[in-house]
């Protein structure tokens, strides 16, 4: 018995929505960061599912690029977060209010 492809797509959409909602609602920068990763991996799951459904390898190749970019983003993002941590304790986005958005 095989799971229909649409289920994977729905799962990916749900994961993406959770990530997007978390990004908009949570205030802790590390959690926001994890939400971005969740969104990127939901996109990866979509790529792989469509790649299976279409019988085309290109979608799976795209996943590698997305993974590499996500890794690079982690490096820079954590670097910035650490640089901010050193100036003050806590990583809550609400603490950053010098610039009046």
């Amino acid at each position: 018995m095989s799971v229909p492809g649409a289920w994977y797509l729905i799962l990916a959409a749900v994961l993406f929505s959770i990530g997007a909602a978390g990004m908009l609602l949570r205030r802790n920068m590390l959690v926001m960061f994890m939400c971005v990763e969740l969104m990127l991996n939901a996109a990866n799951l979509t790529f792989v599912t469509y790649s299976r459904m279409l019988g085309d390898v290109a979608g799976q190749v795209a996943v590698f690029f997305v993974l590499i970019v996500a890794a690079a983003e982690v490096v820079v993002g954590l670097g910035i977060i650490v640089a901010l941590f050193r100036r003050r304790s806590g990583a809550t986005a609400d603490d950053f209010h010098i610039l009046k958005g």
Partner: protein, 582 residues
């Protein structure tokens, strides 16, 4: 690989997917695609030079003077500009083509953007040199990151595949996140980087999901194949395709800071080092718009009726909000940020019509805007003083008496942004509005002109502030109060009443030496200071020396803006001959 027939029921296809994939793996020796190094040369030069200066600085024991890194950057960006021009000549004589297995579009459109990014990187290197020397921030990082970021923008402009587009966007953005955080003396800089990073990562996640959905609906990420597929086949899953297209639009809308995705722009432009703000406004917008125009006009051209209302809304919101909020700013960098949002609205007005004229209009606008905005932020950067802190409108009061060259240059650049005739800014607005009118968007074009009138107000106000009150240097009451408020939040110990009084007198008056520490609002302990606890008193705006290189860059920006505004032929021809690949 040929695009898979998506019209076949997906479920039936899934059953045979595994065997199909195994069958599609070539059994012979791996055939590598032909790599067209000529088409990639501008990017390769910039990346190579960035790697070179980073390696060189790691290998040398003694710290080389800043001028060495700047010189390498200037030479590399000039070389990239020459390579772009060679590419332009090749394209205009032999016609556009898609290189690297169809993933790279080599056409006039991309060649002009390559030229733009090369020029912007060169100007940035000149402006940043003075900034880095003033801040005592030795090292090649800023210049190397600028070149890497530029190479990403170039890749975005010439991407003919959504995955290549995404990679270019990330190469550009990740370098820009770090560049935004490069000002150690202002806490706002780190905050700006954080905001830019979180929203940038969020927008690229939206973009990737959009690409994935588009891939699912059309069976390819190649822009040419998507266009071919959409014009020949009836799409089964139209909702998926539309969702994908909208997510791509939103992702790129974040990058170019179109309203309602503009929230980050004022904070990031304010907090970043001033040269970086200018570079961001020029290059990130150029890359974002190049990708947006190419995606909308080439592959989603068939779906015009679906994206036009969205672009219409974005354009209108950007024009209105950008102009109105810019009027309300008391800080020059924030004002320029909101003005850049209203410029985004103008470019979107041009894009809206979706014709060939739209592409060249947007291109001309971005090309000329790059010079105006880099020049403007260069003036701000010179005047902001140590720590890059003095950029309230009140700091520009009576500038004409103290710094005639800077005041005149800034005036020209501001008037050009307002769209005064005999500058490139006028022609830029003219061409995007002409594109909108020829597409039948009369209402939008009229509203755009109205917003230009509102925008003229805040540009002229700044000009009047610079020329109006002569050499009288009394600061406006609002900004020092703001500074004092910030300091009282951030460092309750240091922000005693004495310092607040001294701060209120500060921007141009001479401040007693004992209050020097109070000028650093980051509330850091002295040993955390970049100069090992030695805090110099920031020179007041009138005393800051004008670095020769920055003067050259500002002069070049003014010259381009005025000369090509009067002698319009060459640039206009450049934009009009730069056709899209398909």
């Amino acid at each position: 690989m040929t695009p898979a027939p998506v019209t076949m029921p997906a479920a039936a296809r899934a059953a045979t997917a595994t065997t199909a994939m195994i069958a599609s793996v070539p059994s012979g020796p791996l055939v590598l695609p032909h790599v067209d190094y000529g088409a990639l040369m501008p990017e390769l030069i910039l990346i190579g030079a960035a790697m070179l200066i980073l390696t060189a600085s790691a290998m040398t024991v003694r710290r080389a003077p800043q001028i060495v890194w700047t010189a390498v950057t200037v030479v590399a960006s000039a070389a990239a500009g020459v390579a772009s021009f060679v590419l332009w000549q090749r394209v205009t004589t032999h016609g556009p083509y898609a290189g690297l297995s169809g993933s790279l579009a080599v056409d006039g459109f991309s060649a002009v953007f390559l030229l733009l990014v090369s020029a912007a990187t060169l100007l940035f290197a000149l402006v940043a040199n003075g900034w880095l020397e003033r801040e005592g921030d030795k090292g090649p990082e800023m210049q190397a990151l600028a070149m890497l970021s530029g190479s990403g923008a170039m890749l975005m402009a010439s991407a003919n595949d959504l995955i290549v587009l995404f990679l270019g966007l990330e190469i550009m953005s990740i370098a820009l996140y770090v560049m935004a955080a490069m000002n150690h003396r202002r806490e706002e800089s780190g905050e700006a980087a954080m905001k830019y990073f979180l929203l940038g990562a969020f927008s690229s996640a939206l973009l990737v999901y959009g690409i994935a959905l588009t891939y699912g609906a059309t069976g390819s990420t190649n822009l040419g194949r998507i266009a071919a597929f959409l014009s020949t086949e009836v799409v089964v899953s139209n909702g998926v395709l539309l969702a994908g297209m909208m997510l791509i639009l939103v992702g790129l809308g974040f990058k170019v800071a179109a309203v309602p995705f503009h929230g980050w722009a004022p904070d990031v432009y304010d907090g970043s080092p001033s040269p970086v703000s200018g570079y961001m406004a020029a290059v990130a917008k150029a890359g974002g718009f190049a990708a947006l125009v190419r995606v909308l006009l080439s592959s989603f051209s068939v779906l015009r009726l679906d994206w036009q209302p969205v672009v219409y809304g974005l354009a209108l919101a950007s024009l209105a909000l950008g102009a109105i909020l810019a009027v309300m700013q008391s800080d020059v960098k924030r004002m320029l940020a909101y003005s850049s949002i209203s410029h985004v609205g103008f470019i979107l007005v041009g894009v809206e019509s979706g014709t060939r004229q739209a592409a060249s209009g947007a291109e001309y606008y971005l090309f000329t805007y790059a010079f105006m905005v880099i020049g403007s932020f260069a003036v701000v950067s010179v005047l902001a003083g140590l720590g890059d802190r003095h950029h309230a409108i009140s700091d520009f009061r009576g500038l004409a008496g103290r710094r005639p060259f800077l005041a005149l240059s800034f005036t020209v650049l501001l008037l050009a942004q307002a769209g005064i005739p005999f500058t490139t800014g006028f022609l830029a607005k003219f061409y995007v509005l002409a594109a909108a009118v020829s597409g039948g968007f009369y209402v939008l074009a009229t509203l755009a002109m109205l917003s230009a009138v509102v925008a003229a107000f805040f540009y002229l106000r700044l000009v009047l502030v610079m020329y109006g009150t002569g050499v009288q240097v009394a600061p406006l009451s609002r900004e020092p109060a703001e500074e004092a408020r910030r300091r009282s939040i951030l460092q309750p110990i240091l922000a005693g009443p004495g310092i607040s009084v001294a701060g209120a007198a500060s921007p141009v008056a001479v401040v007693p030496a004992g209050t020097g520490g109070g000028e650093l609002p980051q509330g850091s302990a002295p040993e955390e200071g970049p100069l090992g606890g030695v805090f110099e008193q920031p020179p007041a705006a009138s005393e800051a020396a004008l670095p020769a290189m920055a003067a050259v860059a500002i002069g070049a920006c003014v010259l381009v803006t005025v000369v090509f505004g009067i002698w319009a032929g060459p640039l206009v021809e450049l934009a009009q001959r730069s056709t899209l690949l398909f």
